[in-house]
Amino acid sequence: MARFPLLARAGEVRHLGLVAALVLLALVGLATRPETFATYSNLVTILSLAATIGVITVGMTFVIIGGGIDLSVGAIMALASVWATTLATQSYGPVVMVICALLVGTGTGLVNGLLISYGRVVPFIATLAMMVAAGGLAQRMSDRRTQLVRPENSAIVDLSTGRVLGIPLVVYVFAAVVAAGWVLLNRTTFGRRTYAVGGNPEAARIAGIDVRRHTVLLYGLSGLCCGIAAVIIMARTTTGSSTHGHLYELDAIAAVIIGGTLLTGGKGTIIGSILGLLIFTVITNLFILNGLNTSDQLIAKGLIIVVAVLLQRRGLGSRSP
């Protein structure tokens, strides 16, 4: 946990295992597909594809460090994308669409937080219920149809097609969210308190931290990330749909845990989560470059997850018990 200058270097040791796993995957890519893997456009593609879950993973990292879990991220993203692409919303133009997605995401997240904090429903169940309900609501709003972003609002689609320095704008959005998440977690009282709330809620309460309020904010933050992810998926697919984000929660949680965050809370890093996620994204890319079929992809993916986790523990070295 590189939170103080001198620890910073030592802290990075934590991620050595993950970096090693990524390097290994890259070597496999170079060996099997030398002509395509290391190209600029392929790397950009990997990052663009990682952007959606990546943003969600940042929010999930906060929630899990804070001692919770959020199963509803995929459904919230779907709901936000649907709400932002209804005819009514679209009539107000792209800016309102973005604001709508962010508000819907944040609002739904806050409802999760209130249920958990004040309703005292365990996070797993509260967010599972939200996953089911938000998914249903998204279907209902969209009448189960895929809603196209209308041509007059194509400014949203430009986020994925528009490039600066050859890199699509969605990648910048992704990077900005990661950077903001890192600063928030490591440099602000909100972030430091998140560790306290997750690691020892009783101690946090005794120290005068409003644990309930903080928990509500954490889920709100996760919801906000889902809203941003909804904007990205709208840009990537040119649509809003209730099928967006299916099973994202599992991938996001897995990325966070592979990144070294404890499911019990109180420990973890944004960088680890993003590295964990990139491992997933690079695996998929490698498989498709090599033309593996889905069944083999799945078998290999299972094995790679286990190997990545074992490598990550080595990276922790003697610091793990």
């Binding site: 939170r3 306290a196 120290a207 005068g208 420990k267």
Partner: protein, 507 residues
Amino acid sequence: MRGITKRFPGVRALDGVDLEVEAGEVHCLLGQNGAGKSTLIKVLSGVHQPDEGEVRFGGEPVRLAGPTAAMRLGIATIYQELDLVDGLSVAENVFLGHERASYGFVRRREAARAAGELLARLGHPEIPPNRLVERLSPAGKQVVSMARALSHDARLIIMDEPSAALAHDEVANLFRLVRELTSAGVAVIYISHRLEEIREIGDRVTVLKDGRTVAVGLPAATTPTPEIVRLMTGRSVEYVFPPRRPRPAVPEAGGRDPEADGLGTEILRVEGLTVPGEFADVSFSVRAGEIVGLAGLVGSGRTEILETVYGLRRPSAGRVLLDGRPVRPGSAARAVRLGMGLAPEERKSQALLLEDSLADNITLAGLPRYSRLGWLDRRRALADAAEQIAALDVRPADARRPVKTLSGGNQQKAVLARWLINGRRLLLLDEPTRGVDVGARAELYALIRRLADAGLGVLLVSSEVPEVLGLADRVLVVREGRVIHQADARDLDEHRVLDMIMEGSLS
């Protein structure tokens, strides 16, 4: 504080308690385990809301709606259960909840510097403010807790058993600080089960019993011990340490006639045991009926020695023989099969299933006894548990009560009872009286002695030198992972042992 009443579901933890503390004094709170001391101070620091009663501070009636409200008034607390966050650094823990920050951004350098100053004031400049708290020893964590209390500009500092995790010299350090505070006009509420500490540091004493005040404002220095004990327990405890067997004719005569000194055959033999980084070349033996004590500072490696004997750690050299047969390291299950039992240092985290019943806890290590082809003989298990509860006088004597509702001393008895139902050869006791009140302590001592008299070998670790000297037959002095002296307990006195564990030399 006047007429404070606090009810928890099923218990009335406080029942009209009065407490009055003056500026500049050290006011001690005494009482048995579960008397309500911690609950009282949690009311005072805003963690619990009282059901009835009134709190006045500086003459004004105040409402302590939450921890922040208390802190704002200048009430700072060092809690009994460590209240630190493992994943944060020392500095972050010190300022948790009142971070040095501007616009929500932590001013990290300033926080580290300020924390460093507080630690230096506490006599621990060596603790780096940037280190993660999880990497500190229990004593180090206690120091951080104190630093946090000091970081508030407090007019009243409450300390709930701050010395339980501290070694002897650390306690002296703590007292120096307390005197510094009181001379600056700060009031201190001090809770401890060690009467000698109360005598040394306390001005006045308030005694709680079963959630009621039974004595207010007794002079700490002059009230006789039996009187205090009587107030706490409601009865008199005549002796503290049980009598030993008669002194053997030739001490340390093992070898020629093993039974000559009234002790039985050798049960445990440890030869040249070494775990790199923890301890080295440790050799000793324990005989039937003998209590062997390990004295030493916190961090000297005694826990590790016990754990290695028990098979929880792998030694790099040396061996452990139980009844002459080598114990292969690697699994506690094997040690249990061979007849060892360990009462670990951290009762709650290492020994107890807090949610489960007393009976479940007592029969945990004896499950094979109640298993017929895997089928659990529940009637016999319950009967055995009830028998031990009666024999050890666990209170309340209700086998079905969840163990988390028991006081510390009774929980400790439950841990001991676990090992008594299935005929142990050797008991390893790590700090068996930590956080246990005087009355229960005397009972535990008597119990341990009875067990030894019944032929068990006992290996005892305690940070309280008088306890080791009073209870053990033979004492090993451990310093920095080495056994530097062993002798019959009656040939040692407290002063000499303290010198040895601190200086490493014989004075």
